[in-house]
């Protein structure tokens, strides 16, 4: 029978052994180190028990120090800095937060969700895996921190925040207005939640530029802007907010951001821009010998 005494040692009572009624002490996980004691002696020498335990410990210390060290637990596998084929979409607003009123019968939360559902297959066609912060209209709106947490957890190549506006013209590509730090923080160092985007601002600007180029190639008017739109500043991945504003052509009537054809054109251009961004900024790991370290590299 094995019990644990307050000193943290296993007390093994060998009642069925030839020396029945004796109590032996041993260190956890080690063989018995002390001689057996008769139970009568134990009762008689109860007052000497602390001294005995101390003596046993002093005897055991050299043996413990000579024991082979326990096998080290396997080191956790380092996670890659980003997954080059993963994109996070964040259709803004939702729930009680309707956003702006885009047209007489559509709110911004519905337009952004419809746009995300058009953008997803376009991205899949380019070989991306897509994670969305919401696929329906939830009863309660997601908080800014929940959206940022979802995006940061999966380490995507890019995060795209989707917005729509009833005024303005064309497509607005928005990058965080935070100022990037002068020196790049070392990997693994904690960053402030409200400035999490700052170290990747240069990549976010390149992402905005790539998407802007493909939108221009699709004959869509583009504005590249800087603004702090929640949760842009909390994202650790390259991130931009895409705001769909009405498309004003030569005719008097502007195409609303809720128009399906307009959304599809923009979605195709954004998907092409992201594919170009992946090619330029996150080539496959086996294509770059210097990217041997998984932490600094990219996961396929």
């Amino acid at each position: 029978m094995v019990k644990r005494n307050p000193a943290g040692m296993h007390m093994e009572s060998a009642e069925n052994s030839p020396g029945a009624g004796t109590t032996r002490f041993r260190l956890s996980g080690a063989k018995a180190l002390s001689p057996s004691y008769n139970s009568k002696n134990v009762i008689q020498q109860r007052n000497h028990l602390p001294a005995t335990v101390a003596a046993v410990l002093l005897t055991a210390l050299p043996l413990v120090s000579q024991a082979p060290p326990p096998p080290a637990p396997p080191a956790p596998r380092p996670q890659p800095a980003l997954y080059r084929n993963l994109i996070v979409l964040d259709p803004a607003h939702g729930g009680r937060d309707k956003g702006s009123q885009i047209s007489a019968n559509s709110a911004e939360k519905e337009v952004t969700l419809a746009f995300a559902q058009r953008l997803r297959p376009a991205l899949v066609a380019q070989g991306f895996t897509v994670v969305s912060t919401r696929d329906s209209d939830p009863a309660d709106e997601l908080t800014t921190d929940q959206r940022a947490g979802t995006a940061n957890h999966v380490r995507p190549l890019a995060c795209i925040l989707l917005h729509a506006a009833p005024a303005g013209s064309g497509v607005h590509i928005v990058t965080s207005s935070l100022v990037p730090p002068e020196t790049t923080p070392p990997p693994g160092r904690a960053v402030m939640w409200n400035r999490a985007q700052a170290p990747v601002i240069p990549m976010s600007l390149r992402l905005a530029n790539e998407v802007g180029l493909t939108l221009e190639a699709a004959n869509l008017p583009v504005l590249l802007m800087r603004s702090s739109v929640p949760p842009l500043d909390n994202l650790t991945c390259p991130a931009v907010a895409v705001e769909l504003a009405p498309l004003k052509g030569s005719s008097k009537n502007a195409t609303s951001a809720a128009d399906a054809g307009y959304q599809q054109r923009v979605a195709n251009a954004i998907a092409a821009g992201l594919a170009s961004f992946r090619t330029h900024n996150a080539p496959p790991p086996n294509a770059i010998p210097s990217m041997a370290s998984p932490r600094a590299g990219v996961a396929p």
């Binding site: 702006s100 911004e108 607005h172 928005v174 409200n194 390149r206 802007g212 500043d233 907010a241 330029h280």
Partner: protein, 208 residues
């Protein structure tokens, strides 16, 4: 002898009159509250003793998402805090004109402006702008339009108070996450010249 039914009718009519009177009084009070909220008549300072000053106002334009600077003569109080408030009130009032390139609703816009200078660091002061709740509630929603309003305020404050280097926004004395659902208000903005327009995509900027 007045018949019983006539007495009942009389008192019923009296009751109806009292109820209608109470309802009318309640409606008048609610309307008064609404009008008071929209028309803040708090005097900022008597500008009679103040001479007009030439100031730089930074105006936003929705058409091309730009901010342009314009000089104007404005009568401003001598007190620095009141001067900042009057300057911003004047700036934001221009956006309610019919020909505004960045249309905003008229009404009170700025409740208070606090200037917190740091004597130890001459150019490290902070300005806190307390916006009126109705201004934020009626502001058009959208990233571009909200950011242009903030850039307009930031640029104007930077030109008028170069000794301060950052600004923070409150709404009705409270921290608010966004102005109208998009542009963040729960961070501190550096005071700088905001006349730079939107960037243009270029092939040269695609390479890391």
């Amino acid at each position: 002898m007045i018949p019983r039914y006539q007495r009942i009718l009389f008192w019923s009519l009296v009751g109806c009159i009292l109820l209608m009177g109470a309802f009318l009084l309640h409606g008048c009070r609610e309307a008064h509250k609404r009008l008071t909220a929209l028309n803040d008549a708090t005097p900022i300072a008597a500008p009679t003793a103040a001479a007009t000053e030439e100031v730089n106002l930074y105006f936003a334009s929705d058409a091309n998402a730009t901010i342009h600077s314009s000089r104007a003569q404005v009568a401003l109080p001598q007190d620095t805090s009141l001067k900042a408030r009057a300057l911003l009130e004047h700036l934001l009032a221009q956006y309610s004109r019919p020909d505004s390139a960045h249309p905003l609703q008229s009404g009170p816009s700025v409740d208070d402006v606090f200037l917190l200078a740091d004597p130890a660091h001459p150019n490290a002061g902070r300005i806190t702008v307390n916006l009126h709740g109705s201004f934020a509630d009626t502001h058009p929603s959208g990233i571009e339009v909200e950011q242009l309003t903030l850039d307009s305020i930031i640029g104007t404050l930077h030109a008028a108070f170069p000794e301060f280097n950052e600004v923070r926004f409150l709404v009705d004395g409270q921290v608010r996450e966004t102005l109208a659902g998009h542009a963040s208000l729960d961070r501190t903005y550096p005071l700088l010249d905001t006349t730079a327009g939107p960037a243009v995509p270029s092939e040269a900027a695609t390479q890391p």
